[in-house]
Amino acid sequence: MKSATWYKSWEFMLAVALVLELVVLGLINPAFLNIENLLFSTSDFVHVIIAAVGLTLVIMTGGIDISGVSIMGLASIVLGLAFVAGVPIGLAVVLALGVGALAGAFNGTVIAETDVNPLVITLAMLFFYAGVATGLPTLLDMMGFSVAGAGGFEAYQYEGITGLPKSFTWIGTGGIGWVPMPLIVTAVIAAVATWLMHRTRFGRFLYLIGVSMDVARFTGVPVKRTLVTVYALNGFAAAAAGLVLTAYFTNARSDLGAEALLNIITAVVLGGSSIYGGQGSVLGTFLAGLVLGYLRQGLLALGITSDVVPVIVGAVLIGTVALKIGMSNLNTRRANRAAYETERMAMTQNGG
């Protein structure tokens, strides 16, 4: 039960950190605190949060999926190619999300069926999906499809696919009132993931598998089915992140999100998840994503070059984990001492 309050306090600490960060940045540069500005600047980084939410579920089981960054690009280029081929945009979105979920489900199947480390499998799939994403346009070219416009399929590879309809780009650039659409999409996905993780049997299964896969198996948890589902969900989330980014850039590219891996994993770990599994929360990931995103925005607003930002993000990642390890060591030591004291007290009482 003690760990339950600890979770709460970690998320609370993140919320406090977020508020503090905004206040400090606002004090340095008052223009930063413009509420509309604050809300709309999230569009620059919410794709990281969406992908991180999916990864949180996977990391809960003690696994990892680094191929999400490639699925983002794959979903983007699938959407673009489907659109160019004349598929209605709504169907193209469904297709892209479906490809993402399938890609994830494939990862999950291989991971559930073999004992190979998930990192190795998703590393292979990271290359594979990235290669398919960059190769798809040329494949269509070789299959004899023709395309209007200069450069043909080759150009798609380098320049991306533009001219996506307004109804789609609205997801990335539009908003309802003061709230931008990407943030709404992110909040919805995070809410659904929170519900899945904390209110359903599926969520308990994830936790049990993360604590001990063998015990989960022996107690009748459908381990394989759960793993395939959770990796599929991660693929879906990564595809959604890719589509939001596509709509925001109004450009479907195969290399979207390729640089996001460090940020995604940092958001998950800063959010309180343990990469050994059995620990983590979607809300934590969401808040951590906001903290990191605003940190980047704020540093850039302060005139710090974007080159320094990864140095700071890396330091935050390492610092957080080091802090958590230090805190848990301290707790263990305190608990040990308390146990020792009670023991000694009991001994002296018995003796005297």
């Binding site: 990892i64 291989v110 073999t114 004992d115 190979v116 480390n117 990192l119 190795v120 499998i121 590393l123 292979a124 799939m125 990271l126 290359f127 594979f128 999906y129 990235a130 290669g131 398919v132 960059t134 190769g135 346009p137 040329t138 590879q157 891996l261 460090l262 994993i265 940092t266 770990v269 990469i275 050994y276 070059t305 080159d307 320094v308 930002v309 990864p310 140095v311 700071i312 993000v313 890396g314 330091a315 990642l317 390492i318 984990v321 080091a322 390890i325």
Partner: protein, 339 residues
Amino acid sequence: MMKIFKSREFLVLVLLIVMILSVATVNKAVLYPFTLINIVNSSLFLMLIAIGQMFVVQTRGIDVSVGAIAGLAAVIFGFALNAGIPLPLSMLLALLTGFVGGFINGIGVAIIGIPPIIMTLGTLGAYRGFMRVLTGGSWIESIPQSIKSFAVTRYLNVPLMVWAVAILVIVVAVLLWKIKPARNFYAVGDNADGAYLLGINVTATRIAAFSLSGVFAGAAAIVFVGQIGFVPMQTGNGQELKAIAAVVLGGVSLMGGTGSIWSAVIGALFLTAVDSMMIFLKVPGSWNNAVAGAVLLAVVVFDYLIRRTVRNRQLAARAAEMRRAEQDAEPGQPMEARS
């Protein structure tokens, strides 16, 4: 002798030869010595960082910062050469940069206890950012072009650089074979607690593995600068994942305790050869990653299937043996009724 044939290194080597020969049926140019030497030549960078990676993976770690360390070392190397520091000293500086980068990773993992993937992912961002800060984001050019003589000068048609790396690989292989403490890497990776009880300094071994990884990344940086003669900002970008792929392909398990230097060498050769084969098959270069990923997946899954079959067979044999022992214990039973 049988052990060699059964090893994963050998399997991948056979796959590599089969791949080259089957491509040769389509395009004979693959078998020209010039082509083969070129494949080896362009695999040198990956090979060196993969060798470094091997030490870390053997101790059940992972180092995703090697590409960034190589980039940082390349920048320091470039700066040193431009400052007129003599070549051997500049090389030493590059190796030292790599060592420091790896040593920091080792401290974080072995002493503070941060999971290796988190620690090195953090330093990946940090080192890469630091590299851009140092150079202000611009390429380092105007490096004395004499540095390229290593890559251009050929002895027996093979670039000096290839000879140098080949000698380095053999020396390291012999050292790993002859020096006793080198086996600590296996022991720590296989069972850290057991190694500790045997009196092996687990912390020092882990730090040494990460430091070696950094040193080899520094060596890779020297090769890289020697081959192209300047330092672009992308130096080593994305190579860390390729290095991990190479060692895993060559048979180093991420669970630690297995693999050899040949895993890294053959894995790196294979991944580089895949890229070249695509050219000879006239497949667009955009498919390279897809093929590399598919090969890696196929090899690890195939390896799993083999291991599972072997294990099942062992279990079956043991079960049969136990049944027989039971039978011997009850002499009254007729033998025929059993089987």
